[in-house]
Amino acid sequence: MNPINDLLKILSDFVAGIVSGIFAFSPFLADLVTMGLAAVILCTFAALSFMGLTYVERKVVARIQDRLGPNQAGPFGLLQPIADGIKMFTKEDTTPANADRWVYNLAPLVIAIFALTTYAVLPFAPGVVGTNLNVGVFYLIAIGSGSIVAILMAGWGSNNKYALLGAFRTVAQLVGYEVPMLLNVLPVVMMAGSMSLVDIINKQTTLDGNPGIPFIVFFPLSALVFLISGIAETGRSPFDLLEAESEIVAGFHVEYSGMKFALFFLGEYVNALAVAFVFSTFFLGGYAGPILPPYVWLLLKAALIFFIFMWLRGTLPRIRIDQMHNLNWKFFVPVSIVHLVVVMALMKLFVTDPAQAEAFGGILVAPIVQAVILFVASMTVLLVSLAIAARRARVLRLQEEAILEQRRAENLAAARA
């Protein structure tokens, strides 16, 4: 074992060895304590990255918008997250008088729990993964529905019109964007032949005679749609219309303050980081990469994705709710379905495995050729659909302009008369 490349693996084996030494009398207890330690480490990692990310995001967005960002607490404002933490812990927290107390108080807990549980299946390095479920992809998507429940609980428990309205809008957005996510993970699962995240990464490395091409090359459309849906799933800008301060006063968590608000915030950031990790795993090859140690590769890729999130947040204006729904239901979903059909047909037609070609027919091609074919097909679907959407948008805009023109003429005539 290379001590630098397998640092995480060596450390985790070391800790597991110590624990099983202490609990030598009961393998079950040793197992339980090992798992508990791993869970605590993962939760701490998520919470610490949440603290760090709030600082980094504020700094980066400030730079993009030509501001300074936090610069008072400590050098370069580095102590800002700690100051925020102290504030969150000591701020008075009110429960509205006619709130549904149980539901109101449990909602932030539920959202934080489900956000943290996402990390149980993410592989950080070869052999370093909480648990390599054979339904990992499914698990990630299913856990996402936990936050939907928490949002409904928060909206209903607050007993506030705006909270309830915000919760409903949020849920409509979250369930909507789950559909393109599901549809665009399917090509990845088909390619990897497994729903386990480790298998998906292995398929993108050069192990077992695989070509070592990340899936973003095979399915650029899937990657793009997955990334945008991921941003929408986590409710980040430009899809943050559900907590638009000026419109529905912070949406479903309007009544929350102090630590409970912090938990909602933590849920949002932890989910966003999880989307970055999941995207790197599905489409960029996860921890696979040359020279550098695997965990560094994973962190680099996730950091790149998260930087894209921050960049979008710093530059794009918030979109309207009808645009948000139209983008999803009238563009992403139909395009993803068409893409899925095309990919299915092509993947059956052009196969890379000789045994499969012999058993089920199909044209045997080299992996590179298959990648090129799928890339071209995926890009064609993307460009054609974009062209259609652009033409349709132009028609709609012209219609709108014609109506406006007509109305203006009528008004003018009325004014003259």
Binding site: F28, D100, V103, L133, N134, V135, F138, Y139, I141, A142, I143, G144, S145, G146, I148, V149, L152, M153, W156, L164, F168, V171, V175, E178, G193, M195
Partner: protein
């Protein structure tokens, strides 16, 4: 006791308690939340059965989709919040459910009623050496065979079976059509009609009613009936 046994008992109690809450509470939103808890617990039972696929599918479909539909429906029928939870046949329903549960327990569980005409029915604990029960020719309690493990590839096997002409291809395709019909029907039923459509509908209904009344008038005014009958019908 193994860990799995303890977990099974805890999860079952949670599921049954949540289910009892669902059917007795007055607050429909809390009922829906508790229903989610019950579904989550059932996913836990599937994990104990070592069927991860369905544990996750349970969470995805029941918690992520069906419960959301239920909560939306609760919100849309908001005037119905403070309703009395039970209707007039509640006692009968409870008795029926209890009887069915007792019968199921006797059929499925370890309890057995030995009917001896000379004495009262005796409920005795099912002993290991009693006659085995069979389902489809396979003895299932007490078994004389070890339980085979779930194959590693059960997800792929399931996927293949779904599109295998000799297995479940027809139901699989029927599902697509069923779902089509469900979507079309549900959208048609639930769709918010535009004001113009509502007016049109009312007009059609009024026309229909008028036609009906006309037909009735004509029928009652037919010469076969005596004048008095018509008058009395009109009086009513």
């Amino acid at each position: 006791m193994t860990v799995q046994q303890v977990l099974f008992i805890v999860i079952s109690l949670v599921v049954l308690g949540a289910a009892l809450f669902v059917v007795t509470t007055r607050n429909l939103f809390r009922a829906a939340l508790m229903m989610m808890l019950a579904f989550f617990g059932i996913a836990g039972l599937f994990v104990l059965l070592e069927i991860g696929l369905f544990a996750v599918a349970q969470v995805l479909i029941y918690i992520g989709a069906i419960s959301i539909l239920v909560i939306f429906a609760v919100m849309l029928t908001r005037g119905m919040q403070g309703m009395v939870p039970r209707n007039s046949q509640a006692i009968g329903a409870a008795v029926t459910a209890a009887i069915i549960f007792a019968v199921l327990l006797l059929i499925l569980g370890p309890l057995r009623v030995t009917i001896d005409l000379a004495r009262w029915p005796v409920i005795s604990l099912f002993a290991g050496n009693a006659s085995p029960r069979e389902v489809g020719g396979i003895a299932w309690t007490p078994a004389d065979r070890a339980i085979p493990p779930v194959p590693e590839t059960y997800i792929a096997d399931f996927g293949r079976a779904l599109v295998d002409l000799n297995q479940y291809l027809l139901p699989f395709l029927l599902i697509a059509f069923l779902v089509d019909v469900v979507l079309a029907g549900a959208i048609f039923i639930a769709r918010q009609r535009r004001p113009a459509e509502v007016i049109e509908e009312r007009r059609l209904r009024a026309e229909e009613d008028a036609e009906e009344a006309e037909a009735m008038r004509r029928a009652s005014a037919s010469p076969a009936l005596p004048e008095g009958a018509v008058a009395s019908a009109v009086d009513h």
